[in-house]
């Protein structure tokens, strides 16, 4: 159910995935964001990742807050239920949704204002709880819909389009996610689809709290000289530490790599995250090393991208709470209501 109709004519040779779906089956309405917006590239990467993983679109629940980034769930996966919630509060809505039905895939899309400014509290707590989700922040360092104010991820000293200098320290959500216990943390750039698509695939298959900070330039308000979120700036300061391939359970592993250059991480569901190291001294299996490396490079003006950290034995909130395997929303009177005999016993205990 979308606002703007898109022609449904498919090219007959469009490749289909294991479910017989083409990429078009994962699309949504036509974007109403500005031409050249980084967010649209991220939507495209989400579509590609879901298609490649052969996820059933209706088995995804997409949730967002408020802002340009939070509008994007309309622009992909139109067969999924979507929820455009309250500014900065997507994490709690996603948490509740996840508790109700553990069988769906939860994709949270947010922005830097939504997650780092108004929603920093909820961001922190959803990571702490280890909610099984993919949480993507489309990070442009600026408020788009309200026209160009700094957000809390804007670097100190960076300049707004109007020439104002940001005097507040920027928040690095990836570092926060690492500190707060997220079990899959990545950073990427909307302009680097080759890096971003596998990162999203890895996050979607990860059985815990997966967070990806995606630098996504705002062409309208934050793509000028003096900005540290412009296409030019990010391209020239992007230091990718690894390249990721996600091999799902069904696929055979065929590619050969030289020993030592590749790290393989086998996840609960059998999928394998294969990491090719680009930086020799980077270790994505250590939370502390990752934080230290990312912050060290940031001090030199570099933006570290790639899969920053992954915990192969991740667990999630359902495991912490010990909930049943069946989705809670599928339980009925039989499982939930103790009945009148138990109530009479209870009454008797209160006399």
């Amino acid at each position: 159910m979308t606002y703007l109709a898109k022609p449904k004519l498919h090219h007959p040779d469009l490749p289909a995935n294991a479910l017989g779906f083409t990429r078009r089956d994962y699309e949504g309405a036509i974007s109403t964001l500005c031409a050249g917006c980084g967010h649209d590239s991220i939507s495209a990467a989400i579509i590609q990742a879901c298609w490649e993983l052969a996820i059933e679109p209706h088995k995804v629940a997409k949730l967002s807050g408020i802002g340009c980034s939070s509008k994007t769930p309309t622009y992909f996966l139109e067969k999924s239920h979507g929820f455009n919630s309250v500014h900065g509060r997507m994490p709690s809505v996603l948490t509740g949704a996840n508790l109700a039905n553990r069988d769906l895939i939860y994709l949270g899309v947010s922005g830097d204002g939504d997650s780092a400014s108004i929603g920093l509290g909820q961001f922190a707590h959803v990571m702490r709880r280890g909610v099984n989700m993919t949480y993507i922040v489309e990070n442009n360092g600026v408020y788009g819909l309200t026209k160009g104010q700094f957000s809390a991820t804007a670097d100190r000293g960076s300049k707004s389009k109007r020439g104002a200098v940001n005097t507040d320290e920027g928040i690095d959500l990836a570092i926060l996610a690492l500190q707060l216990g997220a079990t899959y943390v990545g950073r990427s750039f909307s302009g680097d689809k080759a890096q971003l698509v596998p990162l999203i695939k890895g996050a979607l298959t990860h059985p815990g709290a997966a967070f990806i900070d995606v630098i996504s330039p705002c062409v309208a308000f934050n793509n000028h000289d003096g900005s540290t979120r412009s296409y030019d700036y990010v391209r020239s300061h992007n230091e990718a530490v690894n390249r990721l391939d996600v091999i799902t359970v069904h696929k055979e592993i065929t590619t050969e790599y030289a020993p030592g250059a590749v790290q393989e991480v086998r996840q609960h569901d059998g999928s394998v995250l294969r990491l090719r190291k680009l930086a020799d001294d980077y270790d994505s299996s250590s939370r502390i090393a990752a934080m230290s490396y990312v912050q060290g490079r940031y001090a030199h003006g570099e933006i570290v991208t790639g899969l920053l950290y992954v915990e192969p034995d991740a667990t999630d909130l359902h495991e912490s709470l010990g909930t049943v395997a069946r989705p809670l929303n599928a339980l009925g009177e039989k499982e939930l209501c103790p009945g009148s005999a138990a109530l009479e016993k209870f009454n008797a205990s209160l006399r």
């Binding site: 209706h58 629940a61 509060r89 509740g96 707590h125 006399r351």
Partner: protein, 617 residues
């Protein structure tokens, strides 16, 4: 001068003045329950500070053969165990009443009153002589005074012993010393004090099958019976014990026998914004979910409540009201969130409110609220208060009909969608304002839609068209009308004689009102009464107001909030209804209501018709 002492059997008030954290609570409960076990109705109330240790706390026990459960006011026997509040406590004793105190340290004569009976017992001295451990001296002092009171009031010591036995079942090591302390107190009192006093307890049969339960506990069990599977909450007095009781009940009733896993998810959220967010997320996804909070929590939730109203997502919010505004008096009771809940959030909103009168209704209404929220696809508030929530009260046993099924409302299943049933998320096909929804993940091709707080058309498509917006807002009003068919009906109590005046009341005021009405009737003042149990108001409520020359709306807040709501929503002439309000944080009393009504009526120059006996004078 001969002192006149109060003489009463099964009709008096005992008030305990203690220090918070001194272990008095369990001893005082023991006292109240042993009277209940003798078949005599009691209604205890905790009056406690926002503090863990050191500040004054009181426990007031009303003993009433007639079964009046409201707070009476005053104290016939003061058990003054707190030197900090001595002066105030002594003043509160009714003329002719009794003062029981620890006489270890002599007090000057001017610390007492000469119109009351003073009973000194050297509790500290007795404890110091009996126990060496400081903690034991403190804890057993409480049990010793219970023993002494049993002798003074003729409480059957066997009932107290039985209760102690139940309390320490499996902890026999503690049982024996407690019984010893109890007997020590009883024996000392019997030997040294003027037993019995003028006020005594006599075995009766007025308790029957009634149970003794805190409202918060009942709410929690209502949520279990009503099928809540997600509870998200944030600690706040006086609602925290709802969530704690829910956890306890779930530990018993929601463990899957085969796997040991839980049929429930309970999350202590980081704040009330997150707790209501989780409830909304869970309910959107087809689970029954609730949160429990108090006024400040509702204030924080209001943005989300507006979303749930506009996007039409079920949510159950239990508001255990306390005295506001701001932090107010967090451990005192009020009914002061009526307006803030009825109209919570920005823009035009109206929410369903339920007003249980006691724990029994709190249980039933919580379970009902989960049905109502699903049926109406909107937030539903269960409006209790501290008086109901945090005091054990006698009430009729809780009931459940095993043939009852959960009303999940209008939800299209995979089969419905497969069969080609037309789906527009906001399409009013049944003309009752309630539209069909689908749960996420139901069908691969049909039934997906986008939920949003922004305006949309009948097919959930984003739109800023004024006509589509108005269409939707009008439908929400129709839905609110439909709600009247589902919410609990008001309870009407008509005077046996023609009454020109009426009272409107709700919630925890009920127990005091029952008594006040009986007293007024006895005085020859005919008064009809209606207990409002829900908002939106059904016709009988509005008709009641219009059928009387004047009505008094009795409530526990400063501004007469329910009256405002009645005038606003019922198109009532404001002159027909005036407020009688009680809002000092203590529960309203029958005395207060009766006097207020008498004063108002005398101002109207009404001469009550006397009953036959009086008329013959």
């Amino acid at each position: 001068m001969q002192k006149k002492s109060i003489k009463a059997v099964n009709d008096f008030v005992v008030k305990f003045a203690n220090v918070n954290g001194s272990g008095s609570a369990s001893a005082n409960t023991l006292f109240a329950k042993s009277i209940m076990r003798m078949g005599v109705p009691v209604s205890p109330r905790n009056i406690f500070p926002s503090n863990i240790q050191g500040l004054p706390t009181w426990y007031e026990v009303r003993v009433s053969e007639s079964g009046w459960l409201g707070r009476r006011g005053g104290a016939d026997l003061m058990v003054a165990m707190n030197p900090q509040t001595w002066e105030k406590d002594v003043v509160e004793v009714e003329p002719g009443g009794y003062l029981f105190y620890d006489s270890t340290k002599p007090l000057p004569a001017d610390k007492f009153r000469d119109d009351i009976t003073v009973i000194g017992m050297p509790l500290t001295e007795i404890c110091n002589a009996t126990y060496t451990d400081a903690r034991q001296r403190q804890l057993f002092k409480n049990i010793i005074y219970v023993g002494a009171l049993a002798a003074l009031l003729e409480i059957d010591i066997a009932e107290v012993e039985k209760l102690i036995g139940e309390q320490y079942k499996g902890k026999e090591k503690l049982l024996e010393p407690n019984l010893r302390a109890l007997h020590l107190g009883r024996d000392w009192a019997a030997a040294n004090l003027p037993c019995p006093l003028g006020i005594t307890v006599r075995r009766s049969d007025k308790v029957g099958a009634k149970i003794f339960i805190e409202g918060n506990n009942a709410v929690a069990l209502g949520a279990v019976y009503g099928g809540a599977t997600v509870c998200a909450w944030y600690p706040i007095t006086p609602s925290s014990s709802v969530a704690e009781a829910f956890m306890k009940h779930c530990g018993k009733f929601r463990v899957d026998a085969a796997t040991g896993k839980r049929n429930v998810a309970i999350v202590q959220a980081e704040d009330e914004l997150a707790s209501i967010g989780m409830v909304i997320g869970a309910a959107w996804n087809g689970a029954r979910a609730f949160t429990c909070t108090s006024g400040p929590g509702v204030s924080l939730m209001t943005e989300f409540i507006g979303l749930a109203y506009f996007a039409e997502i079920p949510a159950v919010i239990v508001n255990v009201q306390r005295a506001g505004p701001s932090t107010g008096m967090p451990t005192r009771t009020q009914q002061a969130d009526i307006l803030s809940c009825a109209y919570a959030s920005h823009g035009d909103t109206k929410h369903v409110l339920l007003f249980p009168e006691d724990a029994r209704e709190a249980f039933a209404f919580t379970a009902d609220a989960l049905d109502l929220a699903d049926r109406l696809q909107t937030p539903v508030f269960v409006m209790t208060d501290l008086d109901i929530g945090m005091n054990e009260r006698l009430c009729e046993p809780l009931e459940w009909d095993d043939s009852r099924t959960y009303d999940r409302g209008k939800v299209l299943s995979h089969e419905d969608l497969e069969a080609g049933k037309r789906f527009g998320r906001y399409l009013d096909v049944d003309d009752d304002g309630i539209t069909y929804r689908t749960y996420p993940g139901t069908h691969p091709k049909r039934g997906s839609f986008f939920t949003r707080g922004t305006s949309r058309d009948r097919y959930a498509r984003y739109t800023e068209e004024g006509s589509a917006y108005v269409d939707n807002m009008q439908r929400l009003l129709r839905k609110f009308e439909t709600a009247k068919l589902y919410v609990p009906e008001p309870v009407l109590k008509e005077s046996p004689r023609t009454a020109h005046y009426g009272v409107v009341y709700y919630g925890s005021t009920a127990c005091a009102m029952d008594e006040a009405l009986a007293e007024l009737e006895a005085e020859g003042i005919a008064m009809d009464a209606i207990r409002v149990r829900a908002f939106p108001f059904q016709d009988p409520v509005i008709d009641f107001v219009n059928a009387h020359d004047h009505v008094f709306v009795v409530e526990q807040n400063r501004d007469g909030q329910l009256r405002t709501l009645l005038v606003n929503e019922g198109a009532i002439d404001p002159a027909r209804a005036s407020s009688i309000v009680h809002y000092d944080g203590t529960p309203i009393t029958a005395r207060f209501i009766r006097r207020a009504i008498e004063e108002r009526l005398s101002a109207f120059n009404v001469r009550p018709m006397r009953r036959t006996a009086a008329a013959g004078e």
